[in-house]
C-alpha cells in the first residue's frame, strides 16, 4: 500500500509520542485542539484507506467527509480508533470486517458502512439528515471514470456514445 497523499504529516503515533514525551519530561506539551483534530483525521484516513482499498485519498476530501461525519456523531473519532484497534487485535481482513462486526452484534458495525457511504457515494448522514458532499469526486465515479461520466455530464459531441467504450 502506498503512502497517503494527504498533507497531514502529523500521525497519531507521533502525536502519542509527543504526549508521552511530555509526561516523561514533566513538561506538558502545548497540545492544541487542532493537533487533536489532525490525529483524529489521520485515524479516519487510515480506516478509509482500508475500506476504500485506495492507498491514496485526497486530503481535502477526507477532511470534508470527516468533519461532516463528526457533526452527526461526536464519538466518531473514538469509534474509529476502537475499530482500528479491533482490526489489529483480531487481524481482520477488510473482506471479513463487516461480516465479523455484524455477527458479533458489535456496536461499531455501522461505522464501516457510514465511512463507505461517505467515500463511495459522497453522502453523509441518513434519511432526512443525509446530504451530498461529493458527486463527481465520489469514488464510485472515480472508479469508472475511464469509461463512464457522472450523469448530467456530456460524453462529447452528438453520437459519441455510439462508439465501443475503450
Amino acid at each position: 500500500m502506498s503512502a497517503p497523499s494527504h498533507s497531514h504529516a502529523f500521525s497519531r503515533r507521533s502525536f502519542l509520542m509527543t504526549v508521552a514525551l511530555g509526561y516523561l519530561t514533566g513538561v506538558a506539551p502545548r497540545v492544541s485542539a487542532q493537533t487533536f483534530a489532525n490525529a483524529n483525521l489521520d485515524d479516519f484516513i487510515q480506516i478509509s484507506r482500508l475500506i476504500t482499498g485506495r492507498g491514496t485519498l485526497p486530503a481535502s476530501q477526507a477532511s470534508r467527509l470527516f468533519n461532516a461525519m463528526m457533526q452527526d456523531d461526536a464519538q466518531l473519532s473514538s469509534k474509529v480508533q476502537a475499530l482500528l484497534r479491533l482490526i489489529e487485535e483480531r487481524k481482520l481482513g477488510i473482506e471479513r470486517l463487516q461480516q465479523s462486526l455484524d455477527e458479533d452484534g458489535n456496536a461499531l458495525s455501522e461505522v464501516p458502512q457510514k465511512i463507505a457511504t461517505a467515500w463511495f457515494l459522497g453522502v453523509v448522514g441518513e434519511a432526512e439528515t443525509a446530504r451530498c458532499l461529493e458527486y463527481e469526486r465520489a469514488l464510485n465515479a472515480v472508479i469508472v471514470a475511464d469509461v463512464l461520466m457522472p450523469p448530467t455530464y456530456a460524453y462529447g459531441p452528438y453520437g459519441s456514445w455510439a462508439r465501443k467504450p475503450t
Binding site: 473482506e95 464501516p112 463512464l148 450523469p151 456530456a154 460524453y155
Partner: protein
C-alpha cells in the same frame, strides 16, 4: 403582476398538455390564463438539486413539493399525500410545478397502434375509444413537430408524414443487444421527443444519461418548454395558484375557478371556457372537490365515472449479467425496445406489452447494494466495474384494462392547505398478471441470447409503476359510462373541457404523454372551430 380576474379561457394546470392547449389557443389570438398550483423552477436549479441529492436514484428528490401544492413523495419517508386504500398500493409520482411532470420523463413519445382504439370490438376486453387512429393521426404529427420527435418506422404505428428528425444515435450497448437478439427479436430505437439535431432552438442530445430526472441541456422536450411556448404565444401563466374548486352557474356552466395563494388567501377567476389539465389524479380530485347542491357527486360526474378506471403501466423485469462488456450509462437512458407483443389476438387472453431495455448507469444502485452487503476494499472496485460493464435490465410495459373499481377518490385526510387529499383504490388484475407471465418467456430468451448469468427476476407480485396515469376522466360516446365526449368536453358542462392522460379510455402499451398531447391538440382545434377565440358559442348554439 396581479392575476387577472377574468379570461376567455382558463386553463388549470401548466403541464405539457395544458400548456400546449393554451399555446394553440393563444396562437389563434385567444385570451388565455393558465393557473398553476406549484412554483416556477428553472432547469439549472433542478440540475443542481440532482447533483447535490443524497438519493440520486430517487428522481423525485430533485422535485421537492411546495408546501402549498403538495405532491406524493415516498423517500426518505412517505409524505402520505396520496392515500392508499389498496388492495395494491398505487404509488404514483407526479410533479406540481410550472411545466408539470414531464420535466422528469424518458421522453418516450409513442403513438398507439391502430387496434388500441378498438380492443372491445376486436378482442372483447376493455372499451373502444370514441375516435380511431385516423382521427388522431394529424394531431400525433402536430405533437411530434412541436416536441421534436424521432423514432423507428417499424413500430406498428403508420404515419402519413415522416418524423421531423432522424432517430437518436444508438448507444453501443443497444447496438450489441440489437445484434445479439436479431435471430429472435427486432430491437428498435425508441420513439422519443429527444433531439438528434438542433431543433427549435434546442441542441442535439449530448448523452448526459440523466434524461430522468432532468435533461441538463433541454435536448429533450418537456412541459417547462411547453409552458414557455404558451407564454410566448400570449398566454398569461400564474404559478402558486392552487385551484381548489370550480363554481357553476344555474345552467350548469362553469363560472369561476377558486384558488389559494401560498398564504391561503382565496381568489376567484371567471372565464368563458375552462380546461382542466391538472393531471390524472389532480384533475379528478378537483372535479370531486367541486361538488355542489346541484352536483352532489362532483362536477362532470353524473356518470359516477370521475376518478374511476385508473390505469397505469405496471412493469416487471429481469436483471442479468451479459457475457460481454456493455457499459450502460453512455447516451440517453431509455433508447431501445421490442414492439412485437403490442398487438395480436392474444389480447383477448392476456395483456400486451412492450419490452424496454434500460441504458441507465448502474453505478448508483450497485454502489448502494455493495455497501449494504459490506463489500469494501479492492473487491468493491472489482464488483462495481463488473456490474457497470455487464449488468443489463429488460422490463415489460404491460397494459391494464379499465376497471371502475380502480379509482381516485377523496380521502378523509386533508393536506396542508386544508384540502382533502386524493386516495387511490387499485389492484393488478389477472389480465395483466398473465401478460407478466408471458413476458417472462421473453426475459429468459433474451438473457439466453446475451449469454446471461446471475439472472434476477423482479420479486414475484411486485409491479413497478411507470407514472402513466390514465382513465380517470375517460372519453366516450355514452354519457352514462364516460366523463367527456370525443372532444374531451364534459358530458355535463357545456363549457368545461378536460385535457391530460386521464382522458385516455385505455392505456395500450405506450407511454401516455403523446396520446394525451395529440388528443388535447384535437380538443383545442375543436374549441376554436366551435367557440372561436372568445371561448363562447355563437348565440343559439349553446343549448339554451
Amino acid at each position: 403582476m396581479a392575476v387577472p380576474r377574468s379570461a376567455d379561457f382558463v386553463v388549470i394546470g401548466s403541464g405539457i398538455v395544458g400548456s400546449l392547449v393554451a399555446r394553440k389557443l393563444a396562437q389563434a389570438g385567444a385570451e388565455v390564463l393558465i393557473l398553476e398550483a406549484g412554483p416556477r423552477v428553472t432547469r439549472g436549479e433542478i440540475v443542481a438539486r440532482f447533483r447535490n441529492s443524497p438519493r440520486r436514484s430517487d428522481w423525485m428528490s430533485a422535485y421537492p413539493p411546495a408546501p402549498w401544492a403538495p405532491h406524493p413523495i415516498y423517500k426518505p419517508t412517505d409524505n402520505n399525500y396520496l392515500l392508499q386504500a389498496g388492495p395494491y398500493a398505487y404509488a404514483a409520482e407526479y410533479i406540481r410545478q410550472v411545466g408539470g411532470t414531464s420535466w422528469h420523463w424518458a421522453a418516450h413519445a409513442w403513438r398507439n397502434v391502430p387496434n388500441d382504439f378498438k380492443i372491445r370490438t376486436l378482442y372483447g376486453v376493455g372499451v373502444d375509444w370514441p375516435i380511431d387512429y385516423e382521427d388522431l393521426e394529424p394531431f400525433y404529427q402536430e405533437a411530434e413537430e412541436i416536441m421534436g420527435v424521432s423514432g423507428a418506422p417499424n413500430t406498428g404505428s403508420p404515419r402519413k408524414k415522416p418524423f421531423p428528425m432522424d432517430p437518436v444515435a444508438e448507444p453501443y450497448a443497444m447496438r450489441r443487444i440489437r445484434e445479439r437478439l436479431a435471430s429472435a427479436y427486432t430491437v428498435v430505437t425508441n420513439t422519443t421527443a429527444r433531439n438528434s439535431r438542433s431543433y427549435d432552438g434546442r441542441p442535439a442530445c449530448c448523452g448526459n444519461n440523466s434524461c430522468q430526472p432532468i435533461c441538463p441541456i433541454d435536448a429533450q422536450y418537456h412541459g417547462g418548454l411547453a409552458a414557455q411556448a404558451a407564454e410566448a404565444a400570449g398566454a398569461d401563466l400564474f404559478p402558486n395558484a392552487n385551484v381548489y374548486k370550480l363554481e357553476h352557474d344555474e345552467r350548469g356552466r362553469i363560472a369561476a375557478a377558486l384558488y389559494y395563494d401560498p398564504d391561503k388567501n382565496s381568489h376567484r377567476v371567471t372565464g368563458n371556457t375552462f380546461i382542466v389539465a391538472a393531471n390524472g389524479i389532480e384533475s379528478p380530485r378537483l372535479l370531486l372537490l367541486s361538488a355542489s347542491d346541484t352536483f352532489p357527486r362532483g362536477l362532470a360526474n353524473s356518470s359516477d365515472m370521475v376518478g374511476r378506471n385508473l390505469m397505469d403501466h405496471p412493469s416487471t423485469s429481469l436483471t442479468f449479467d451479459a457475457d460481454e462488456d456493455m457499459w450502460l450509462g453512455r447516451g440517453p437512458q431509455s433508447p431501445s425496445s421490442i414492439n412485437s407483443m403490442r398487438d395480436g389476438p392474444f389480447r383477448s387472453e392476456h395483456a400486451p406489452y412492450r419490452l424496454d431495455f434500460t441504458n441507465i448507469s448502474r453505478i448508483d444502485g450497485t454502489t448502494r447494494e455493495l455497501i449494504s452487503q459490506g463489500i469494501y476494499g479492492s473487491e468493491f472496485e472489482k464488483r462495481l466495474r463488473h456490474s457497470a460493464a455487464r449488468e443489463l435490465n429488460v422490463k415489460n410495459v404491460l397494459e391494464v384494462l379499465p376497471d371502475p373499481n380502480h379509482r381516485i377518490a377523496l380521502g378523509d385526510e386533508k393536506d396542508a392547505m386544508g384540502i382533502p387529499k386524493p386516495q387511490t383504490h387499485y389492484s393488478i388484475d389477472g389480465y395483466t398478471r398473465k401478460g407478466h407471465e408471458r413476458s417472462k418467456e421473453d426475459f429468459r430468451r433474451i438473457a439466453e441470447l446475451l449469454g446471461g448469468s446471475n439472472l434476477r427476476f423482479s420479486r414475484e407480485g411486485d409491479f413497478a409503476n411507470n407514472q402513466h396515469i390514465c382513465g380517470t376522466l375517460s372519453m366516450g360516446h355514452d354519457p352514462r359510462a364516460s366523463v367527456c365526449d370525443q372532444w374531451a368536453r364534459t358530458h355535463d358542462h357545456e363549457n368545461l373541457y378536460l385535457a391530460g392522460t386521464g382522458v385516455l379510455p385505455t392505456c395500450g402499451t405506450c407511454n401516455s404523454t403523446e396520446n394525451a398531447v395529440a388528443v388535447a391538440l384535437r380538443t383545442a382545434e375543436h374549441i376554436l372551430s366551435e367557440y372561436g377565440v372568445r371561448g363562447m358559442r355563437p348565440s343559439g348554439r349553446d343549448g339554451t
